[in-house]
């Protein structure tokens, strides 16, 4: 199986879906001539031309809405935001148009659209450029939200997102684009709504998604080496719909859980996961579920402060030790 970067896996998914369906087009800032702010769309303008790879002005609200309108009239737009920080300007179109049109029209207007781009912090970009938006987006009925952690999942989930007849939010990561992994060639789709056990274990479940999958996997290694603890790493992959069965099955096995996410703690994804666990696996729990999140502050610029604000393997290990009553 070929090894690809996360960036190239997304590029492959876009290329294959654009080859497969002439109504799929890519629109966003710098997607064409510049080849993508993060080079995800490299080569697509040359292959598909300016009708299908459309550069936009810096007008997130406007081009997100153009995408939704195009979807109403039968196209399958992929809207790229340079980052999700800027997509906040487009929330009216995502929340009020894309997510609601099917319902308020009594089922007449499905909106097959993908909104994608990097989410969460990179390195020292400051408060406005270092935010994780998944809990905001996952709150909205009518949207689907996916957050792939590996190149293979990135390809498979983006292909599923493009084929889905609903608005799908694809959360990528600046720090993930260069990561490498094996990616199946050709037709490879990952169903939306299915979590994936990235490492099997017996003693504690680490529930994570996107960039925190790597954090949890490192923590699991440390736990194995330092404590002889066998941690299971469950990658949610989809945040809406959430794979409640996978969460429950793992916790029923390990009886302990730590939820790791890049977002802020208040009303975060972890809060929703904890709700699932207390509802569906209450009798299996041997300890309260703990969460590791970004610190409840705007992201600082200073490198040391930023490191302190982010989830880290050490923080996950510390939380796991607590739910295992090792401290």
């Amino acid at each position: 199986m070929p090894t690809l970067t996360y960036r190239d896996a997304l590029n492959q998914a876009l290329r294959e879906e654009m080859q497969r369906d002439a109504y799929v087009f890519l629109m966003g800032e710098e997607v064409g001539v510049y080849q993508g702010a993060y080079k995800v769309s490299r080569g697509l303008l040359e292959e598909f031309g300016p009708t299908r790879v459309v550069d936009t002005p810096i007008a997130e609200l406007g081009f997100a809405g153009i995408g939704v309108g195009a979807a109403m009239a039968g196209l399958r737009p992929v809207i790229e935001f340079m980052t999700w920080n800027f997509a906040v300007l487009a929330l009216d179109q995502i929340v009020n148009s894309a997510a609601k049109l099917l319902y308020e029209s009594g089922g007449q207007f499905p909106i097959p659209i993908v909104f994608r781009g990097p989410n969460g912090a990179a390195l020292q970009l400051g408060a406005q450029h270092s935010q994780a938006w998944e809990s905001w987006l996952s709150h909205i009925p009518g949207l689907k939200v996916v957050a792939p952690a590996t190149p293979a999942d990135a390809k498979g989930l983006l292909k599923s997102a493009i084929r889905d007849n609903n608005p799908v939010i694809v959360l990528e990561g600046e720090m993930l684009y260069n990561t490498k992994g094996e990616v199946p060639e050709g037709e490879y789709v990952v169903p939306i709504g299915r979590a994936d056990v990235k490492r099997a274990g017996r003693d504690v479940t680490l529930i994570c998604h996107s960039k925190t999958v790597a954090v949890a996997l490192k923590a699991a290694e440390q736990l194995a080496e330092q404590e002889g603890v066998s941690a299971e790493v469950v990658d949610l992959r989809s945040l809406r719909p959430l794979d409640e069965a996978a969460i429950t099955a793992s916790v029923a096995k390990t009886n302990r859980a730590v939820v790791v996410e890049e977002g802020w703690p208040h009303c975060g994804i972890g809060a929703q996961v904890v709700d699932v666990i207390q509802r569906e696996a209450f009798d299996h729990l041997d300890a309260p579920v703990l969460r590791v999140t970004q610190a409840d502050v705007p992201m600082p610029y200073n490198r040391q402060l930023e490191r302190l604000a982010k989830p880290s393997p050490d923080k996950v290990v510390a939380a796991a030790r607590r739910v295992l009553y090792l401290d």
Partner: protein
């Protein structure tokens, strides 16, 4: 009378068009009057924005469109929905929240839809649907069609960023869209000149290198002619147009708002009513000898009966099944 004979076909079709427009305006007027009554009786809930006074805009502009063109509007869209051919019964039933409504009772007054008639809604956020109109134009162009999309919004939407972002992109991408601003002078209770630095909406088109026209919105034929020019521009070259159609609403902003309110005088409203688009067109048809008083009365009675039927239909229709609560959240 050879001259008259030679002109007869054209005159006849023109008179027919004008009679059809008059009928459509009467339908909207009486429909909205009944909606106000039903609202007072508690049969319609939530917000309900009436179109009384603005009838010539929907009627004149939509007469210039083909059936395969697209229409998208704001929350003051009962008029456009009716003219587009959604039955008065289906629109009234939607206002009543019934299962037989054009959005199955799940949209309401502000969210009327009919995919077959290419009526793309009824949208509730001021200016939020303006980019959607451009997106529909984008899809038309992408597929190589020669349809157009007409997008209606009030003058208050002109102060929203989405309006400016959209006009810019519609012009850059050469989209076949007619942006039809219904300038009724008040955004809810705020006079446009109190909150807009540029009060001639059409002037905004200059910023986006777009064609524009000021139109008398109380004259259905003037609106028709201006829209025809905009349609031609869109069909032939994919050029968008901004129409500023100057109109006036005789009723409040919504049903929660008194007729005149504190933001305008009764005298102003009464003065504007002298420009009533329905009486103006009826007078023209009479002067042209195309319609007499008996004919007008018959037309009026016919339309009133249609609206009565619509109310009966809405009243008799069932509520949506409770199971409808959770349908249409996501598509298959």
């Amino acid at each position: 009378m050879t001259t008259a004979t030679a002109h007869a076909p054209k005159d006849q079709s023109q008179a027919e068009l004008e009679r059809r427009m008059l009928r459509q305006m009467l339908l909207i007027r009486h429909f909205e009057e009944k909606a106000a009554e039903a609202y007072a009786l508690g049969k319609i809930g939530g917000f309900c924005h009436l179109y009384i006074g603005q009838e010539a805009v929907a009627v004149g502009s939509l007469a210039a469109l083909r059936d395969d063109d697209y229409v998208i509007s704001s929350y003051r869209e009962h008029g456009q929905a009716l003219v587009r051919g959604i039955s008065a019964g289906a629109v009234m039933a939607e206002l009543f929240g019934k299962a037989t409504g054009c959005s199955k009772g799940k949209g309401g007054s502000m969210h009327l839809f009919d995919a077959e008639k290419r009526f793309m809604g009824g949208h509730g956020i001021v200016g939020g649907h303006v980019p959607l109109g451009a997106g529909i134009g984008f899809a038309i162009k992408y597929k190589g069609g020669n349809q157009v999309c007409i997008c209606y919004f009030g003058e208050a939407a002109v102060n929203i960023g989405a309006f400016h972002e959209t006009l810019n992109m519609a012009s850059v991408y050469h989209l076949p869209v007619i942006f039809c601003c219904e300038n009724n002078r008040y955004g809810m209770g705020t006079a446009f000149e109190r909150v807009a630095a540029v009060t001639d909406v059409a002037e905004h088109a200059c910023s986006y290198d777009m064609a524009a026209e000021f139109v008398n919105g109380m004259d259905a034929l003037a609106v028709y002619a201006a829209t025809q020019r905009a349609v031609e521009r869109a069909r032939k070259g994919g050029h968008p147009t901004l129409l500023e159609v100057r109109t006036y609403r005789f009723m409040g902003h919504s049903m929660s708002d008194p007729l005149h309110g504190v933001y305008r005088t009764k005298d102003e409203v009464e003065e504007q009513k002298k420009r009533d688009p329905i009486s103006q067109l009826a007078l023209k048809l009479k002067e042209d000898g195309a319609l007499d008083q008996a004919g007008l009365d018959a037309l009026d009675a016919e339309v009133r009966a249609e609206v009565e039927e619509a109310v009966k239909f809405a009243d008799a229709s069932p509520d949506p099944d409770p199971g409808e609560l959770t349908t249409h959240v996501v598509a298959d």
